[in-house]
């Protein structure tokens, strides 16, 4: 017999999903990031036109999502390191709440800077 979502529906499993999905999404984003940086190799104009294009509101919103992904992956990774390398204590849900809170704060701070 195999487990379904009912067996997996608990906070630490959701943290695993967020960590894995954010990692895959960031890995997919990296080539785009390097391509954008590579525009500078073709001269100032090429990069400048890309930067103007990236000023669109939808691109800015996508950047918020990117910041959220980065913050979620970073805090998720730090949570795992703290859990596994520090002395064990009953704090895994506190660490989760901290990771989620810092992620949300990072996203909101970035969003505020856009306006």
């Amino acid at each position: 017999m195999k487990n379904d979502f009912r067996a997996r529906n608990h906070p630490a499993y959701w943290a695993f999903i967020v960590h894995r999905v954010s990692g895959v999404a960031l890995a997919l984003f990296l080539p785009l990031h390097f391509w954008a940086l590579g525009q500078a190799l073709h001269g100032e104009a090429g990069l400048e036109s890309f930067l103007r294009w990236s000023d669109q509101p939808t691109v800015k919103l996508a950047e918020v999502a990117l910041v959220l992904l980065l913050a979620a992956h970073l805090t998720g990774g730090l949570r795992l390191l703290a859990l596994e390398f520090l002395a064990w204590r009953d704090w895994h849900k506190t660490l989760l709440a901290l990771a989620a809170g810092i992620t949300a704060a990072a996203g909101l701070a970035f969003l505020l800077n856009l306006t």
Binding site: M1, N3, R6, A7, H10, A12, Y13, F16, F85, W88
Partner: protein
């Protein structure tokens, strides 16, 4: 009298859920429900239990999608709209109905070198282990495992990698790593350091979430990860 509608898995790996109506009673456990079905409704139903008081670890099943010890699980806590779904534990071969074959589960305890090996004989004096020593406290935190298989059934890594030793075997290994009397630790750490050992754990924490004894095999596995890393750095294997 109120009744409970119960779907019970019948068959082996392939099979189907069969519906039963069971009289609802006060303080009724899920094991009481299964026992009623077998004794009053269908004597061909196969299930396993022994002590009925949460000590032997025989009666674990999947109740409404989650692995649980059925003798200490009250129907009140798990029934949704008067319904229960009872299936055998996941990640183990089904012998019949609600009975799983635990052979591989316990073989993995042996593979993780879960057997105590000491240096003293019966003619020697007792080894004195201070109860408040750091190692004894770590062993105490993990020692109450009853071998019910709930953690093994809840673990996704077991489903993804059939060779994975699993939370219970690794938890057992960790108790022995912290046993001052044991002499087999180098081989034990080597046994749990491979691809199917502690480093395969993804820290989903399903084992810790579902353990009916509120143990945290994740903590034991994290301890093994540190201990094996340290042993590898020292060149011990």
């Amino acid at each position: 009298m109120a009744t409970l509608r119960v779907s019970v898995w019948r068959g082996q790996e392939s099979g189907r859920f069969q519906e039963f109506e069971v009289p609802r009673q006060e303080s009724q456990s899920v094991l009481d429900v299964v026992t009623h079905i077998q004794r009053a409704l269908d004597p061909t139903l196969a299930y396993r239990f022994s002590c009925r008081v949460g000590m032997c670890g025989s009666c674990a099943m999947t109740v409404n999608g989650r692995a649980r010890w059925t003798c200490r699980t009250h129907v009140d806590k798990v029934a949704v709209d008067g319904r229960l779904e009872i299936a055998p534990l996941s990640n183990l071969p089904v012998v019949k109905d609600l009975v799983t074959d635990m052979t591989l589960f316990f073989d993995k305890w042996a593979r993780a070198r879960g057997r105590f090996r000491g240096a003293r004989t019966r003619r020697d004096d007792f080894e004195r282990v201070p109860p408040d020593s750091a190692a004894r406290r770590l062993a105490d935190a993990a020692i109450e495992c009853i071998g019910c298989g709930v953690c093994y059934s809840a673990c996704d890594v077991v489903a993804w990698n059939p060779d994975y030793l699993g939370p219970a075997a690794l938890n057992r290994a960790w108790t022995l790593v912290n046993d001052a009397r044991d002499t087999d630790n180098r081989a034990r750490l080597a046994a749990v350091a491979g691809d199917a050992g502690c480093h395969a754990c993804h820290t989903h924490m399903s084992c810790s979430e579902r353990c009916p004894k509120q143990l945290s095999p994740t903590a034991s596995i994290a301890g093994l990860k540190r201990a094996t890393a340290l042993a590898a750095l020292k060149g011990e294997f």
